[in-house]
């Protein structure tokens, strides 16, 4: 079996900071990531600034790219890893979970049409080479990412025909007021607004339905506005990726991985940093990653400043609270579980996610409820329940690589 002192899962800001710090403390460090290159979502294909500086400090750290953790044993301290043509077990003394976040997608009639993507989703594709010069794009949903993504699409030559934020103007002004205590974030917000001058920016606005109109998508908004676009980028905020932590037995609290001041989870030898412990952004992720890396390698952490981070988390949640009207968007025939094509009316008689799984196969497809789980939590108040291995679809041959008890 392959062995490392510190194994880090996820090569976004938190994972990179953790790996760099653990390595500097003298640990043998291996970073495992699903993507082709380090950076995570926020630093995808970034080759300057803080991203380049941190990624450049990964020297001496073993990086295993395009690898997925499909199972683990917190007692034996092993993880089972699947790659394109291979699978292996890796043993660790300390494990740092830095699995980041995904976007929240809410069902509405037509949301499964090709061309409707996440906000970070479309941004990831553009960063992966998709040309959008001259394309008509609608950006909708909720959260600060909408502005950043809209500005990015514009810079890449697209025409952002509408930017629709479901939160009210008043909620956003209150949020801006709170940013006064964080001048860097306030400056960032001001720069984004400048970059978006001339864009039709609506608050209290959301997409009600989508239909095909030839090669274009025809979007209807609650305001009555109709826009025809090449791509729609729609997401309602971020959901922490807690599946690996949950599968290894780490305690969750309020939907996020519970950690102490030293980033220790409830399971001995397992640490967690960044978005899985609560959406906090890149600065908090770096700080938590550094702490996790140092503590996992047996050293005292440098500094702590969680108060500010927690404040930001709370302010985000308050400002971008999803309005109840969004629960009324799907109609009876709207698909909620995209993997298994389960409709709203099939789910309505169910009383829990578990019952929905057993009766309708909702959440039983390849994404294993990562998309519909959060949607049904919003629509019905269901909680997703336990996570069992394999936590991602895996080959039978991979599962056979696990050392028996």
């Amino acid at each position: 079996m392959k062995r490392a002192g510190v194994v880090v899962v996820g090569a976004g800001p938190a994972g990179i900071a953790a790996a760099v710090r653990a390595r500097a403390c003298g640990a043998r460090v291996t970073v495992i990531d699903d993507n082709a290159a380090p950076g995570g979502q926020i630093w995808r294909r970034e080759n300057k600034g803080a991203a380049a500086a941190w990624i450049g400090r990964l020297t001496g750290v073993e990086q295993i790219a395009q690898a997925r953790v499909v199972a683990g044993d917190p007692v034996k301290r092993t993880l089972l890893i699947e790659m394109a043509d291979d699978a292996f077990e890796i043993g660790y003394e300390s494990l740092i979970i830095a699995t980041g976040a995904r976007e929240l997608f809410l069902p509405f009639p037509g949301w499964t049409l090709p061309g409707i993507m996440g906000v970070g989703g479309l941004q990831a594709l553009v960063k992966a080479g998709l040309p959008i010069v001259g394309k008509r794009i609608a950006v909708a949903g909720s959260g600060p990412l909408l502005l950043a993504a809209a500005a990015y699409f514009r810079r890449e030559g697209a025409q952002v025909v509408i930017l629709a934020e479901q939160a009210s103007t008043i909620a956003l002004l209150r949020f801006a007021g709170q940013l006064v205590r964080q001048p860097a974030k306030l400056m960032q917000a001001a720069r984004l607004r400048m970059a978006l001058l001339g864009v039709d920016y609506r608050r209290g606005c959301w997409v009600k339905r989508a239909d095909l109109a030839g090669r274009l998508l025809r979007l209807q908004f609650n305001s009555g506005a109709i826009h025809e676009v090449d791509y729609a980028a729609i997401a309602y905020g971020l959901c922490p990726n807690t599946e690996l932590a949950a599968a290894l037995g780490c305690r969750l609290a309020d939907g996020v991985v519970f950690v102490d001041d030293l980033q220790r989870t409830s399971v001995e030898g397992i640490y967690c940093a960044g978005e899985p412990t609560g959406i906090g952004g890149v600065d908090a992720a770096l700080l938590e990653g550094e702490t996790a890396g140092m503590v996992a390698a047996g050293q005292a952490p440098l500094r702590r400043d969680t108060g500010k981070r927690r404040g930001f988390d709370k302010a985000l949640k308050t400002a971008f609270t999803l309005r109840r009207a969004l629960r009324e968007l799907p109609d009876a025939s709207t698909i909620v579980c995209r993997c298994e094509d389960v409709t709203l009316e099939q789910l309505q008689p169910m009383t829990s996610f578990r019952e929905a799984k057993l009766q309708t196969r909702c959440g039983m497809g390849p994404c294993q409820g990562r998309i519909c789980g959060a949607a049904t939590e919003f629509l019905f108040g269901w909680s997703a329940g336990s996570v069992r291995p394999p936590i991602l679809p895996a080959r039978v041959g991979t599962m056979c690589k696990e050392t028996p008890e």
Partner: protein, 78 residues
Amino acid sequence: MIELRVNGQSVRVPKGASVAVAVLMAGHTGFRRSVKGEPRGPLCGMGICFECRLTIDGHAHARSCQIEVRDGMLVETE
């Protein structure tokens, strides 16, 4: 530039592009067929939703957003 085939049609895309990008640049919006036969394309762009899966060099269910293009790659949508 990298040259690959999407449903038999030759496509040239920049090095480092994902297979999903190549498929979109070839003009395909539907990547796979859902259980009920609906066309589906990329949603999350980061390997989580499995909506962009297709067949690459004979391997079915590959997540096209997470795989980089290679010369001579054979990609088939559903």
